[in-house]
Structure formats: structure tokens, C-alpha cells
């Protein structure tokens, strides 16, 4: 079940990516509408992060292409924002919370220019949105996992982009932070931004996102929640993990999940 859209914000055509001859993504082809909160679901090793990295140009695909706002990545870098996995950097780096968020403004500043008052104010307002105002001058080495994640999201907000790609922003954060981040993402998508999130927890995903991409090397599904969150497609995505699947159907039954309600 792959639903293609007209005037997509992101279009991926026949994308194949492999590491050392073994394919990690196989013939992925889909398009996404603007202004949605989109979840990428799939089991471990399904190629979720690889997909994000290929979209961001961090991995060279073997074949296929990615178009964003109907253009090549290099022409629209200013409109795209990226939240890498929290573990991808060394948090012992000598920088304050504000320093890191200011890095989000560097793309628009260009070479040689230093961030000034305007960028500082922007960074502070982004920190306010993620509830980190009290930690502006804190060294990043002293932050908890959830706080690190908030700082990364604030940095992405400071890019003032239209399309946001986030790699596991809910990994290893407490409930409180998860809810706060989710509310923020929802606000963003309501104000017309498109947010694509790699997520591993199906239970919460059903509540969070309004468009789903289901991935397991191949693309299993891409479409609105009410059309793709079905037992059959989840089974296809998660393969033979029966234990998990019975939990899923139980979950769907328990919540009396009704696609028509949304």
C-alpha cells in the first residue's frame, strides 16, 4: 500500500542503498505530502536511519534519486533541518547549550560571518520552545539524555526550515520529555512544517503520527494513518516476530483503534 501524492514535499524514486554489496534499502519509492507529522517505522536494521541519511545526502545511493521541494538537495539545504541520533556526537565537547543551538544558524549565516544578536535571540527562543531556558549557559557535558535531545531539537528549530528529519528523537528519553517533544512536533506540523521522524515504538507511534512509512529493506507502506496502520501491513513490516505482532493486534483491539475517528 503505497500512496503517492501530487505536489509532494519529498519524492524518493527507486532508491537503492547498500553497504559492502549487501543492500540496506531496496527500490524504495514514495512521495510525501506537506504539513504532516510522518513516522518511519520498522524493525531494527530495516534501514530507517539509512533512509534519512540518504535523503540528507550523507550516504551515496547506488541508484535512484531524492527530490525535495521538487529540487535537488543542494538547492534547498536552507529549507531542511536534521536531528541526528543523540549518540552520534561526543557530548564532552567544550560547548554550552547556547553554543550548540547557535550552530543551527550557521547554514544561513554562510562563511566568515559570526552569529550576532539576531541569531542569539533566535537561539534563545528555540530553547524556550523546548523548555531549556534554565540551561542556556550549562555545559553540554552536564546534560541528561533527555536534555541533550531537547538541545538537538532546539538546534534544528534554529535552522528555521520547512522540512525536518529526525533520527530517533524519542530514544532514551523519559515520558515527560517524550510528551513535550511530541507536543512541539505537533505544533510544528500544524503551522505547516513537515516533520519526518524515525521511530521504533509502534505503540506510541499509532498515537503520534498522521502519516506512516513502513520499512523493512523494502518499502512496505506509505500512506495516511487510517489506510496503512493495519494488522496485515504491520505483520509484513515486522516479519515473523509473532510475539510482537500478537501484542500489536491486542493493542489495536484494546484501544478500539478506529481509523475513521481521526
Amino acid at each position: 500500500m503505497i500512496k503517492q501524492v501530487t505536489q509532494p514535499i519529498l519524492e524518493i524514486h527507486d532508491l537503492t542503498v547498500s553497504y559492502d554489496q549487501s543492500p540496506v534499502l531496496w527500490n524504495v519509492d514514495f512521495s510525501l505530502p506537506a504539513g504532516k507529522l510522518i513516522g518511519i517505522l520498522g524493525p531494527n536494521g530495516a534501514g530507517k536511519s539509512t533512509l534519512i541519511k540518504a535523503i540528507m545526502g550523507l550516504i551515496e545511493p547506488n541508484s535512484g534519486y531524492v527530490k525535495i521541494f521538487d529540487q535537488d538537495l543542494d538547492k534547498v539545504r536552507n529549507k531542511i533541518s536534521y536531528v541526528p541520533q543523540r549518540e552520534s556526537v561526543d557530548w564532552n565537547f567544550p560547548a554550552s547549550v547556547l553554543d550548540v543551538v547557535l550552530m543551527g544558524t550557521y547554514g544561513k549565516l554562510g562563511l566568515f560571518k559570526r552569529p550576532g544578536k539576531k541569531e542569539r535571540e533566535l537561539a534563545l527562543s528555540c530553547l524556550e520552545k523546548v523548555g531549556m531556558t534554565a540551561y542556556v549557559h550549562r555545559q553540554i557535558s552536564e546534560l541528561s539524555g533527555g536534555q541533550q535531545q531537547r538541545v538537538f531539537i532546539a538546534r534544528a528549530l534554529a535552522q528555521e526550515a520547512d522540512l525536518y528529519l529526525m533520527d530517533e528523537p524519542f530514544a532514551g528519553v523519559d515520558m515527560n520529555t517524550e510528551t513535550a517533544i511530541f507536543n512541539l512536533l505537533q505544533e510544528m506540523s500544524q503551522s505547516g512544517k513537515t516533520v519526518i521522524v524515525v521511530h521504533h515504538d509502534i505503540y506510541s507511534a499509532v498515537n503520534y503520527f498522521d502519516w506512516f512509512i513502513m520499512l523493512n529493506l523494502h518499502l512496505v507502506a506509505s500512506g495516511p494513518k487510517n489506510e496503512v496502520v493495519t494488522e496485515e501491513l504491520l505483520r509484513k513490516t515486522y516479519g515473523g516476530k509473532l510475539n510482537l505482532l500478537s501484542k500489536v493486534s491486542e493493542l489495536i483491539r484494546q484501544k478500539e483503534f478506529n481509523p475513521l475517528k481521526d
Binding site: M56, G57, L58, D74, R77, N78, I80, Y82, P84, S88, V89, D90, N92, F93, P94, A95, S96, D99, V100, M103, G104, Y106, G107, L109, L111, F112, R114, P115, Q139, S141, E142, L143, S144, Q147, R155, Q159
Partner: protein, 299 residues
């Protein structure tokens, strides 16, 4: 016994200039987890020096610096290629690359020994004590002071401009290179720029302090400063202070004990580092009781 004459001043001044250049670059090398790449570069430039020397016929030619620069970048690319494409671990790639290039340099020196007035001792250890008698004399016969001092001044100016111009890019790519690439910062150009500066600094400091001290100055002062602070600006400032202290103390200790200045500078740097390790551990133990509670409360 302790004298502060003109020669002492010139040596300490030049050593400090070199320590500052190395320290500035070393901070970013350390933050990129590339401290040992600096080591690799400082050895890998040897064949470049020899080839430059053979081409120009003099140790002071521009060709020597260009040759070294090219080899420095080549070493960086080779390490990167081995790591990413051949999937060799970083430390092994460094070990393979610089020993190979250094060995080629040694072979070149011995093969062309009759034409090369370069000795391996000088490349490895340097001799800053000769600095006051190696003067830069103009065609008109006027002496402008020690040649190596002028090289060190030029070097520092280049390093300072590079780091001032690209400060924010260096900072971002050191912290999160992928994010830098995504927002369109020329991360690989910045990286190559930094490696070229390290190569150039290594070469222009060779005669004065040798390859070993260059590595020590690239690695030890930033590592020591990192024990004390988690702020980039303070880290840089502290690195520079340590670099100057090392030059000053190294010179006078060498003078007192009548030994190698470069060797004494490395020793002093090592001592400062280990004293810092001891003091910072002691400090964190004192803080432990109260700090822990306050932290738990705020997060």
C-alpha cells in the same frame, strides 16, 4: 646563573610562537579525535621535504614547504581512505600510513645522501639552541634577526588567520561533522585546510624543535587544558598559556642542566600534564559530596 640575555629571549620567544601555533591547531585536532593524525602528518612530511630539497637544492626553499604540504595532505587522505574504503581501524590506518611515508623519506635521504645535507637527527629532534646564529641576512648584508624566528612569526600569522576566519566552521565540524555537511558547510575543505596548516606548521617548526616536539606541542597542551575546562574559549587560552610556560621553563631547565632544550620542553609539558591530572582528580573528589546532590536535584 639565570640570565636573560638576547639569545635567551630569542629562543624562548620563537619556541613560544611555535607552541602557540601548534596549540591552536592541536585544540581542534584533539576535539576531532585526530591528535594522532597530527603525529602521522609530522612524520609523513619527510619524503616531501627531501623531494623539495632535491628540487630546490636548498633546505630553505619554498619547494620544501610545498612538498611537505602535499605529503601532509596525502597522508590525511590515505588515512581517511584506509579507514572508510578499506575498513581498516583508525589507529591502524595511522600507523600504516605514517611509518610507510616516513620510511620512504629515510630511503630517499640515504639514496641521495651525497646530495642531501639533511640529517635524520635534525628532523627528529631539531636544535633550537642554534637559532640565534642562523640569521636572515638581506642581499645588502643587513641582518634582520634569526631566520627561524621569522618563519615562526609567518606561521603564527597564517594559523591565526585560518582559525579566526573559520572559527565557527571549525567548531561545528569538530562537534558534529555530519550536521555541518547537511547544512552546507564545506566540511571536507575545512578538514583539509586544517591538515594543511598542521603540515605547514610541522615543516616550519622542524629545524627548530624537530618532529617529536611538534607532536608534543600539538597534543599535550590541549589535552592538559581539557582537564581543566569545558569551554572552547578558555580551552584555547589555557592551551596558549601552557605552551608559553613550557617554552619558558623548558629553556631554563635545559640551561641549568645543560641539556637539549626541545627535550626539556617535552618533559616539562609531560610533567604539567601529570600534575594537572593529579590536581583535577583531587579537585573532583573534594567537590563530590555537595556537587552530586545539587545535580540530581536540577535534572
Amino acid at each position: 646563573m639565570m640570565t636573560f640575555d638576547q639569545n635567551a629571549f630569542l629562543i624562548i620567544f620563537t619556541a613560544s610562537l611555535i607552541a602557540i601555533s601548534c596549540g591552536l591547531l592541536g585544540v581542534f585536532m584533539m576535539l576531532r579525535k585526530m591528535a594522532m593524525t597530527g603525529d602521522a602528518i609530522s612524520h609523513a612530511v619527510l619524503p616531501g621535504i627531501v623531494i623539495g630539497f632535491l628540487v630546490s637544492g636548498t633546505q630553505r626553499g619554498l619547494e620544501v614547504i610545498v612538498g611537505a604540504g602535499i605529503l601532509g595532505i596525502l597522508a590525511t587522505l590515505m588515512i581517511d581512505w584506509l579507514r572508510k574504503k578499506a575498513r581498516v581501524q583508525l589507529d591502524a590506518s595511522i600507523g600504516i600510513t605514517f611509518t610507510l611515508l616516513f620510511a620512504i623519506g629515510i630511503i630517499l635521504i640515504s639514496a641521495f645522501a651525497y646530495r642531501v645535507d639533511l640529517d635524520q637527527e635534525c628532523v627528529l629532534y631539531g636544535e633550537i639552541a642554534y637559532l640565534p646564529i642562523d640569521l636572515w641576512i638581506t642581499d645588502a648584508g643587513k641582518s634582520l634577526g634569526p631566520r627561524i624566528m621569522w618563519l615562526a612569526i609567518l606561521n603564527l600569522i597564517l594559523v591565526l588567520s585560518f582559525i579566526t576566519l573559520f572559527y565557527k566552521e571549525l567548531k561545528l565540524t569538530s562537534f558534529d561533522e555530519k550536521f555541518g555537511v547537511v547544512i552546507g558547510i564545506p566540511a571536507s575543505a575545512i578538514n583539509l585546510g586544517l591538515m594543511s596548516m598542521v603540515s605547514y606548521t610541522t615543516v616550519s617548526s622542524f629545524e627548530a624543535v624537530g618532529a617529536i616536539l611538534v607532536v608534543a606541542l600539538l597534543v599535550v597542551p590541549p589535552a592538559t587544558a581539557f582537564l581543566w575546562t569545558r569551554q572552547l574559549r578558555q580551552l584555547i587560552q589555557l592551551t596558549l598559556i601552557i605552551g608559553i610556560a613550557v617554552s619558558l621553563l623548558g629553556y631554563y631547565l635545559a640551561y641549568l642542566l645543560d641539556s637539549s632544550i626541545a627535550g626539556m620542553m617535552v618533559t616539562v609539558a609531560g610533567i604539567i600534564f601529570f600534575v594537572s591530572v593529579g590536581l583535577t582528580r583531587y579537585r573532583s573528589k573534594i567537590k563530590f559530596g555537595t556537587q552530586n546532590e545539587a545535580k540530581a536535584f536540577s535534572s
